[in-house]
């Protein structure tokens, strides 16, 4: 057997959910040993493949497990891994398709699908915020034509459940504390990194919208009126203006605003 054919065959067998010991046609290219037959030998690699990938996802998505429960979580991971095996040299990327996949597969999460989806989106945002690049923040000069980029590690998520309250609890060592109860509520969340730690910060809807629009490259003069439209019904013009000012002050203070791509030499 040529090397490429052998490698394709072996990896395909490792990716099968069925153990090689239960598949009489597997491992035909392997020699039996004195203590283990060919299927059992391949079985060692098969168990290792599934254990390593499951463990990697379990480490990255503990809140998802808390939402759907341990048993459903295990089945969900296996279904995901069949559809999305690793296509990266780093396990860090393994969960990158999980939010979109779960959106397409509500049956995998059961009746708590919406909350599970929120948890998955926040947890993947954490993975990204943890180690993507940081750009030098700018002290912005705000005028109508100002354009900005957002920090690459900043993720903005509109959620339907209070999963941000769940995350610190599931990341804490030890399981003696009961997990907080998820509440159905609108949450506008920023996931970002500061001093090499990842933080979650709730935003008001105006700040959230403004940052989204600026991140898309809209000039400030166009982004502000659109963000004002996100003000809660009944807000006064003054309170909306205050919210815009507060959002820009916060973004500047935390260092979320950067020069737009055309202004970055890189």
């Amino acid at each position: 057997m040529q090397l490429l054919e052998l490698q394709r065959t072996m990896l395909a067998e490792l990716r099968q959910p069925t153990a090689p010991e239960d598949n009489p046609t597997s491992a035909a290219y392997l020699r039996p040993g004195r203590r283990l037959n060919a299927h059992e030998r391949l079985g060692i690699y098969h168990r290792s493949y599934w254990a390593r990938l499951r463990q990697s996802l379990a480490e990255d998505f503990p809140a998802l497990r808390a939402v759907v429960g341990r048993r459903r979580f295990a089945a969900l991971l296996d279904a995901y891994l069949i559809d999305h095996p690793s296509h990266s040299w780093t396990l860090r990327d393994l969960g990158q398709h999980l939010p979109a996949w779960l959106e397409q597969h509500p049956e995998q999460a059961g009746r708590r699908w919406r909350a599970a989806l929120d948890a998955t989106r926040v947890e993947w945002a954490y993975v990204e915020a943890y180690d993507v690049a940081a750009l030098p923040p700018i002290v912005a000069d705000f005028h109508a034509n100002s354009r900005f980029a957002l920090q690459p590690h900043l993720r903005l998520l509109a959620l339907s459940f209070s999963v941000d309250e769940l995350l610190p609890a599931v990341h804490r060592d030890g399981r003696s504390q009961p997990l907080p109860r998820l509440r159905r509520e609108r949450v506008w969340l920023a996931v970002h990194r500061a001093d090499d730690l990842v933080y979650y910060r709730r935003l008001d809807p105006i700040a959230f919208t403004l940052l989204q629009l600026l991140g898309r490259g809209l000039p400030l003069g166009q982004a502000v009126p659109e963000a004002c439209a996100a003000a809660p019904r009944g807000s006064s013009p003054q309170s909306t203006a205050d919210a815009i000012h507060a959002a820009l002050a916060l973004a500047t203070q935390i260092g979320w605003l950067c020069s737009p791509p055309e202004a970055n030499p890189a």
Partner: protein
Amino acid sequence: MPANRFNGFTQYGVGVGLRIPHYDEILSRRPVVDWFEIISENYMVDGGNALATLDRILEQYRVVQHGVSLYFGSAQRLNDDHLRRLKALTRRTGTPWVSDHLCWGSVDGTYSHDLLPLPYTWEAVERTAQQIRHAQQELELPILVENVSSYAEFHDSEMTEWEFLNEVVERADCGILLDVNNIYVSSWNHDFDPMTYVNAIDPARVGQIHIAGHSRFEKYRLDTHDHPVLDPVWKLYARAIERVGHTATLLEWDDRIPPFDELHSEALKANRWLASAPQSPIAAPENRHAAA
């Protein structure tokens, strides 16, 4: 050989793997350690805590890079993005050499994240040597290739593992990271004499040695890196040092990681053999070439 072109003519002594549970202790207490080995892939990122910690470690310690997913033995070409990021990291760390495994692990862009065994065929020799040469040119650093623990053998194999290793490193003109624990584990699983393996390796190409613990199951041995080094492995290490000379040695411990001092003490046991190591290699490899 104490220092050779495969380890950048360095004398590195006994090192340990840099692992997250020890970060705080290392940075706060600054223990005396000859060098740290890092898993390259853990630091091939664009920012964040891992890189910041690495930079602080580099201020005080020598660091050598060890990779786990270049997959020299893959039938298809190496991942260019991986090589590019690896090269950038080598510039950051100043590693005198780069190591990875004599194995494959991906095909058609799908990754197993495991160190899968190769069939010991001439086709695999040529392909693997070609990939190592390519990586060596791209990285502009010596490469050491590490023998892996294996649990399977192929009908297609045309030579022994040690013959395969010698053929690959000679054709690639690269060095060897000799893992004596892996030799022991594979020898138990495949019923060969591990000392034959150690005696067959070209000592002039060994730039580093790995020691580690493994787990014993009824029907096989598993390379788990979660135990102290076992006596049969120390015996292989002693013979390797006898043949190769004073060589950079590293203890691998990746699971159920003990407190730093305990781990470091286990690594420093290697000094018992390094202290009396010869200054130059003593023997030509035995049975080096497989029949073509």
